[in-house]
Symmetry: C2
Subunit: 340 residues, 2 copies
């Protein structure tokens, strides 16, 4: 192929006009073009390996089938799992993605947004690395938008986010159901917004069950810091029979600490971890029981929500999806030992 073939080439080879080619290839030929000519067009297109110049098509139709993505670097870097899942869903639906990094500052957002709109993206996905409130810049109102892992405080923009508070509560319930009455909390800093929600959910269910609140131990989100924090918790007077970790790294640390103290999981100590998609919990024996973050489903939902809106052409009411974090059973939870 010395030169990419055009619709004109197809028309010439098939012996029809350019418009006929366009109609046939866009599925609007029925009742307008004879079957014979339709076949001729299709054959010619195949022979020439014709694929339409999407740039020209986009200019003409003002539809690019490209989605813009606005994201930024959080405390734990970029939201790579969310970005990957979003891309997968979009590609399946026939949309490509154009990503821009933009710090959540007015200026940077406007700059990135300008790049995206000058590319005529059909819609925009805002993907936050951490659960947060997203204050939209004014220019965003000109294009369909869906927020992922963040919410619009004014509720003008649709959003998809995990219910982290319920996830923390679920972790607590898992332990209460098995009879634990004394739970320790290994958590990171509250500057991670989700951490506070997880901790709050846990304390809420403990309170509701008439149990004392979990003794919290704050730690850097690292394995070694988790070891130290868990050791502190487990060597205190009257130690807890179970630990909730707000993050998998801390759960790995808890396993180290337990082993060093001669405690078996789950016989002597139960552990439940919340999930930030680092895939560590499943690498331990027993696997850590996990309240997982459904990044894949959330990303799919967000992309589908946006694409549906684009395909339907309507402007439906703003929607907010709060996703349940499902439990992935491991072997790290058991009833507490009768005597300690």
């Amino acid at each position: 192929m010395s030169r990419k073939s055009t619709a004109q080439d197809v028309a010439d080879l098939a012996g029809v006009s350019r418009s006929a080619v366009s109609l046939v290839l866009n599925g609007r030929a029925s009742g307008a073009i004879s079957a014979a000519k339709q076949k001729a067009v299709l054959d010619a297109a195949r022979r020439l390996e014709y694929s339409p110049n999407m740039v020209a098509k986009s200019l003409r139709t003002s539809r690019t089938h490209i989605l813009g993505v606005l994201t930024w670097r959080g405390l734990a870097g970029l939201p790579l799992p969310l970005l990957a899942s979003t891309l997968e869903t979009s590609l399946h639906a026939g949309y490509q993605l154009l990503k821009m990094y933009a710090e959540p500052t007015e200026l940077d957002q406007r700059r990135a947004l300008g790049t995206l709109t000058s590319r005529l993206v059909d819609g925009i996905l805002v993907i936050s690395p951490e659960l947060c409130e997203y204050h939209a810049v004014e220019a965003l109102s000109a294009v369909p938008v869906v927020l992922l892992n963040c919410v619009d405080p004014s509720r003008l923009l649709s959003s998809v986010a995990p219910d982290e508070e319920a996830a923390g509560a679920r972790a607590g319930e898992l332990l209460i159901e098995r009879g634990h009455r004394s739970v320790g909390l290994l958590r990171g800093s509250l500057s991670h917004h989700q951490t506070g929600q997880r901790a709050y959910g846990l304390q809420r269910v403990l309170l509701a069950a008439g149990l004392p609140p979990a003794v919290p131990q704050v730690s850097e989100v690292r394995i070694d810091a988790g070891i130290a924090a868990a050791t502190a918790l487990l060597t205190a007077a009257d130690p807890p029979t179970a630990l909730v970790c707000t993050n998998e790294r801390l759960a790995v640390g808890a396993f180290f600490a337990a082993a060093a103290l001669g405690l078996r999981v789950p016989e002597d100590l139960s552990v439940v971890s919340l999930d930030d998609r680092e895939q560590l919990a499943g690498q331990l024996s027993p696997a850590v029981t996990l309240v997982s973050r459904p990044d894949d489903q959330m990303a799919a939902q967000a992309a589908e929500l946006l694409i549906e809106r684009l395909e339907s052409g309507t402007d439906p009411a703003t929607q907010h999806y709060s996703f349940v974090c499902p439990v992935v059973e491991g072997g790290s939870v058991a009833a507490p030992a009768v005597v300690r």
Copy 2:
């Protein structure tokens, strides 16, 4: 902004022709447009918040300033760190990225490539999740291409990849230099191409130093499997004084195993790990001494290589960059204990 403003709007407001606007805004005005009119155009553009419709511009110039990315899911998923770094470099240079997943099958590659070329991407980056040989489909020859983390066996395409064999050798040297004469090897399956190269590099330097080859212990690339494998190695008769792990997960396992056996790192056991960018080594105390994979630099190099080629318009000779994997010093290596 009810409607995005066009070059015509700017021309009207500035009182000049559309061509004048184009010349000024593209920096080709000197010696062609009066200073006063240039200022008028610039002012008008600013007032209208004009930014050119890139789709129209692309159609006219046949340059999109978009790079296509072809990638696929490997044994460890997508090469997310490489993808992220590539994007960063590209954005800095004024290029956006359009990513496609394509299994390394002829059919899938052609399909994805078709999508990319119909979008008129200026060039293509092929990013492999695992070091491998990449057999290019014929259609790739029509567009500038750079391979990242894979090489073209026919050497027709430029490529950027890490020197994994040298990385394995470096890990061995680190231990030999400190006086170790008995080294164990914790490695994953050879189906990860880089694993074989790392292991080979290690054995090569041991041999060159007149030492016995490292006793290999094969393990699934998981923390718990690493614990078992390291335990086997360390409880055998005449155990090694140092361990090379082909992957950070295995190094974490080695730390667990050492602790359980009452061995201190680095006093009783030295550990060096190779890196697949999981950021685990730095989370342990002491940090694991790491021969790191320079994903960021490699990605930047690949993107720059491609962009330079596009900007220069020339077709320079094929280049193959083999990247040195730098050592990130941790505290997990010391001289072996005199008596064991």
